[in-house]
């Protein structure tokens, strides 16, 4: 117990980094994902082509590799990020692609008749999107978004590769120094707690949207 209280402060500060990456990625990637998802269903071909290439790159290569490219690769062409910004940039790029794909699927699940029905009622495109399409899409995509949110909690551990001190890295340091698995056990428990909170919030959200079918 004494040992646990000794290493806990470093683990908690690592958790701070994990949460910071998690929240900022989520807050920026979800709205961006909606926009990019909308871009994927427009009839403007060059745009959809560009987005498809972007999504293919982001989903087709490991996030670990993307982190390395952003932090070590981009400086070669004169774009220099500090470690934290590089991590955030890579995470946002990566997660926006996943969210965009999910939103595209959700948008395409809305029957054409809903748009036509709104059109003959003379609602503008924006009114249709805001009042009819987005509320329905949110309900459809919530379970898939939830999956990605849980993944994001754990993916945030990849930032160690560019030398950021997150939860997993804090555990790793303690394990190597004290030659014991106890820090890693604690790391596991903390991740479980974080994902449990996410699961709970997502369940609540799904329930909130269950008033209609």
């Amino acid at each position: 117990m004494h040992y646990v209280s000794q290493i806990l402060p470093s683990l908690i500060s690592g958790t701070g980094m994990t949460l910071s990456i998690f929240f900022w990625t989520l807050i920026i990637s979800v709205p961006l994902g909606i926009l990019v998802g909308l871009g994927m269903i427009t009839r403007f071909k060059p745009l959809t082509w560009l987005i498809n290439v972007y999504v293919w790159l982001m989903r087709g290569t490991p996030l670990l590799l993307q982190l390395i490219f952003v932090f070590y690769g981009l400086p070669i062409i004169g774009i220099v990020f500090n470690r934290y910004d590089a991590a955030l940039f890579a995470f946002i790029l990566n997660y926006t692609a996943y969210f965009a794909e999910i939103f595209r699927g959700g948008l395409q699940a809305i029957p054409v008749g809903q748009y036509e029905s709104a059109r003959v009622l003379r609602l503008t495109k924006w009114q249709t999107l805001r009042k009819i399409v987005i509320p329905q899409v949110v309900k459809i995509v919530l379970p898939s978004i939830g999956n990605e949110v849980i993944n994001l909690v754990k993916d945030s551990s990849l930032v160690y590769v560019i030398g950021l001190g997150d939860l997993l890295r804090a555990g790793n340091v303690a394990m190597a120094r004290d030659v014991t698995l106890v820090p890693m056990l604690l790391v596991g428990v903390i991740y479980l707690l974080l994902t449990a909170v996410c699961t709970l919030v997502l369940k609540r959200l799904e329930k909130h949207y269950s008033y209609w079918r």
Binding site: Q114, R122, L123, R213
Partner: protein
């Protein structure tokens, strides 16, 4: 009064509607009948502006207008879709007041008052706060009619109003359509149900499939 002159519509070079002319006087019911694939629904979609015609002209009360681009005058054409297309995320009342408040800029209280009166008239009193999934097919259709009426249309169009309903509900739709006619509504009904068409029509248009 709605007039169509020389309406032609092609899909991929195939002519679906060829020089259609028709006149629907105010307060009358025109039924459009014919076999599947003859272009009944296409004609209705052209009139309601969901398809752009290749040639021809529309006149409402003698004024030329283009249903596909006409968005900001009061030549409103209401549509009751075959599958109703109510908005599932909104209650019955919200479905009805959405367009009057957002498009016609009516006050919420005003729009709601009128919506409730309309719902009452079509035997939907007490259903205002339900969601579409809680309604029967016939009720959904009546909500779709109320939603269209709330925009004060000059003309109300129905696409196959009997096809999604139980046979015994056919009488009910018939009664509603005739009731609206008595109140002066001009209506166009697309249907493949001949007895139904005959019992409501002032005028019948037969469309035949093109070769």
């Amino acid at each position: 009064m709605l007039e169509l002159k020389g309406i032609t519509k092609k899909f991929d070079g195939k002519t679906i509607l060829d020089q259609v002319n028709l006149t629907v006087p105010d307060g009358q019911i025109l039924t459009i009948v014919g076999p599947s694939g003859a272009g009944k629904t296409t004609l209705l979609r052209c009139i309601s502006g969901l398809e752009v015609v290749d040639s021809g002209k529309f006149f409402l009360d003698g004024q030329a207008f283009d249903p596909a681009t006409n968005r900001d005058n009061d030549a409103v054409i209401g549509v009751v879709f075959q599958d109703f297309q109510l908005f599932p995320n909104l209650t019955v009342l919200q479905n009805v007041v959405l367009a009057p408040t957002m498009v016609l800029k009516r006050s919420a209280a005003d729009a709601e008052k009128e919506a409730r009166a309309l719902l009452e008239r079509l035997n939907l009193g007490g259903k205002a706060d339900l969601f579409p999934y809680e309604l029967s097919g016939g009720q959904k259709q009546r909500v779709a009619i109320v939603r269209a009426l709330a925009m004060h249309p000059k003309l109300l169009c129905y696409d196959e109003p009997t096809s999604a309903l139980d046979p015994d509900l056919r009488r009910e739709v018939e009664e509603i359509i005739l009731k609206l006619k008595r109140e002066g509504m001009t209506q166009i009904v697309v249907t493949h149900d001949m007895p139904f068409a005959e019992s409501i029509a002032d005028q019948m248009l037969r469309v035949e499939p093109k070769e």
